[in-house]
Symmetry: C2
Subunit: 202 residues, 2 copies
Amino acid sequence: MHTRTRRYHHGDLRAALLTRAEETLREKGPAALSLRELARDLGVSHAAPSRHFKDKQALLDALALTGFERLTAVLEASQDGAGETFAKRLDAMVRTYVGFARDNAELLDLMYSIKHDPAASDVLVEATHRWSDLVVRLIGDGQARGEVREGPVERVGLPVFAALHGYADLAATGMLPSEVDEHGLDEVIAFMLRGCVPRDVL
Amino acid sequence: MHTRTRRYHHGDLRAALLTRAEETLREKGPAALSLRELARDLGVSHAAPSRHFKDKQALLDALALTGFERLTAVLEASQDGAGETFAKRLDAMVRTYVGFARDNAELLDLMYSIKHDPAASDVLVEATHRWSDLVVRLIGDGQARGEVREGPVERVGLPVFAALHGYADLAATGMLPSEVDEHGLDEVIAFMLRGCVPRDVL
DNA sequence: ACCTGAACACCGTTCAAGT
DNA sequence: ACCTGAACACCGTTCAAGT
């Protein structure tokens, strides 16, 4: 690839490994991710990655962490220009999340598989909390405005999150016939709003 | 384990491989599933499995297929004594599905990962259709009774399925704090019913 | 028909040794 | 501090040969 004579590696092997790992994950799937092939791609010996990641799992953890950081960043950004009403803020968040899931299907899968690993690192657990806090805040604000039914936020928010998580997974893994996926998201958002409706309405 | 002198294998190696594979999947997770270890566990040579499954993927496909068969069986059974109303039938189906997901978390994961593989076999695709037909029938019957809003069944059913799939995944992978999981399912079912409510009500 | 044993090309991980 | 090269114990897959 790059023909300069290299004594060791050109600079930041750690970052290069993560970048290349994500490319491979996206292009060839998680099964094709091998430390040795990564090292080969980057022109270092197969043992070199171990200086930066104690084992393969540590690299996957680090990769998942970058995913959570990017996800929370776009989700937070989605709330900025979204407007005031619960309907508009929910719409923005859901479309952003599903968009991220479509664009990063394999990465999101990795993120979830690591999240429910009991040995997940602290920084990683913290990253997932930042994201669930966003949902909690969205629901809480909606309740404060009288646009969402009363009740403990986790209980009101849980079905919303379940539907969001489920639809994003279906869409990202290509399990929806394309003509369903076309307007499916509109349908899901309307469904969520009906589910959130205050008790005096339904 | 069994001490009888065996010339080759005791009988049905194919079935024994599938049974042992599911045990390993359940106890040690998908990463620990190796053809060679399976063969060792069953006391045959490492090449023996290839007589029954052309490669590892073929064994996983067969395992997923048994999963789909058992899943559709319990789901169909759930509808028998469920009662007449849409609410009761939905309740029965959702609880049965989530129960299956909890009891077979790793297997269900495998089933989904294979389902969205473009090279999925015909019998496997057919098995997944039997299950989506069940959801379609549930929604269609609800509409006929005037208990579910009008519209194309796929469009009405999609958010229900998304929420079901999403909640089952959260519950099965242990991502719900136990005090949330306690009453979470009731909350999700009520949410689904509000989402399905006819247009003249909401 | 069903299984074995050896062979091949891959892994992840470890560790002395090099620069 | 960072990387190499050899070594070890695993994989999946294939194929001649055995019963």
